[in-house]
Symmetry: C2
Subunit: 310 residues, 2 copies
Amino acid sequence: MALRAFRSVVALAGGVGGAKLADGLVRSMNKPSTLTVIVNTGDDFRHYGLAISPDLDTVMYTLGGVANVVNGWGLEGDTTQMLAMLRRYGDDAWFGLGDKDVATHLLRTQWLAAGVSLTEITRRLSAGLGVPATILPMADQPAPTMIHTVERGVLPFQEYFVRYHWQPTIARLEFLNADVHPTPEAEAALAAADLILICPSNPLLSVEPILNIGYRALLEKRKARCIAVSPLIDGQAVKGPAAKIMAELDMEPSANGVARYYGDLIDGIVIQTGESVDMARALNADILMRDIPDRARLAYEILAWAGKWA
Amino acid sequence: MALRAFRSVVALAGGVGGAKLADGLVRSMNKPSTLTVIVNTGDDFRHYGLAISPDLDTVMYTLGGVANVVNGWGLEGDTTQMLAMLRRYGDDAWFGLGDKDVATHLLRTQWLAAGVSLTEITRRLSAGLGVPATILPMADQPAPTMIHTVERGVLPFQEYFVRYHWQPTIARLEFLNADVHPTPEAEAALAAADLILICPSNPLLSVEPILNIGYRALLEKRKARCIAVSPLIDGQAVKGPAAKIMAELDMEPSANGVARYYGDLIDGIVIQTGESVDMARALNADILMRDIPDRARLAYEILAWAGKWA
């Protein structure tokens, strides 16, 4: 059976999980140029004055074929001379910045200072890496996610996630996103899409920051079908703290918890083989993406399934 | 004969030549902690938003024992992954920034943005590298040297020097140093010194930017003897464009040209063996510093000579 060709696909993504599925889509679509990935920028922060966009970079490096496939983040073959020198100066250098990686942040910082939008910057950087799809930041304004923790007070996302290895208990999340809106480019992509995917990213930490700035309203009035891919297997996150955080915030860490969280925003859900969910349209698949062939396989299965709907 | 112990020595320095002599002083003084090196910052510039101080870094890396001794500038064992990545993004990356080197610029940029003075920043960085002497920027405010060229109009120093390899013909120099003054720390060091040295740096490009912001007046009222070391051997610069520039600006590219340039600011001059100069106090020495022993030898000869004066 020939795969139904979607006219254009939009994926909402966070970091590693989102990047892997986006990469699978690029590998299994007839025209990867018709894929748009809208990426969470709630994790963005300044470090040593550098403007760092961890999720954007992870998606960009992955789709550019230059990602470190062991870490999932960072660049293949990158080195850490700069970090070693920072430590020599007595800095604790808690955030991983590869030497090649610094080039990305320097250009972004310089261009932001010159008034270039994050959307245009992402386009330039993606072009430099030969990314075959369109990567869009969720917004051009900063919208930092703040983590209110029980043990350490309020932490910017990366301090919580990297510096403290997501060990503090989350009391609540705060999105500093007043007056932050979807970009015109992202809004147009969603309006033109005939398939919307919510990638297997952390619903609360990676997807909610996107939904929270106006994408929820855009999805509510969608004409295209929207499918979420669960980031949980047997109640555990493949990577990162999704299950821990869902539990801390009184959500059930399960496929059902994910389905209920997205509610009417989605028309179907993809869950792990052998699991079940209280949702009419559900696809059981092996959602664990161990390697590159897995990414393409999962993306293919999702596209094939969605293409069969009436 | 025991070397006369100077109570405190101040050296005015540019980049590589100044750094080498300062290193020689550290190696041949009883107490290197009594050496203060006041460094040209007219070459400082912003690049990719980074605050870069080439001469300060060359002196700091050299005295910290971490300089690349082949180049004279940059760090030993440094790599260029960041530059390679910049080029991948289409940037021409004309200025050499090693991966370790970037750490220095990131910290400096971050601290400047936080309102820390360049003097204090240089102290922190020097401490991190275990520099045994005191390194001071000539000023805490920016004072960029602009090069008016015949072929390419007005160029910031590093564009002239690195991007265009000091090939354009200089019409004149311009020092954007209105309201820039010696720091209190540098002024105090000069007042306390019993020996002042002008290192074998380019008189016009490296020393004049220092003299021009108020150090000329401080030297004119000095109590300590002041000795210049010629940067020229047989009318040629050991490194860089000193001779070319002196000729372009109608100065004689010779020991005599250097002596006349400094005039009453100096009480003696050190020139190459076999050369002569119209100055009562002159020391002939092998002023070429090929390697580290040469640095210590030349510094020793200068200190011994100055120590014998009445």
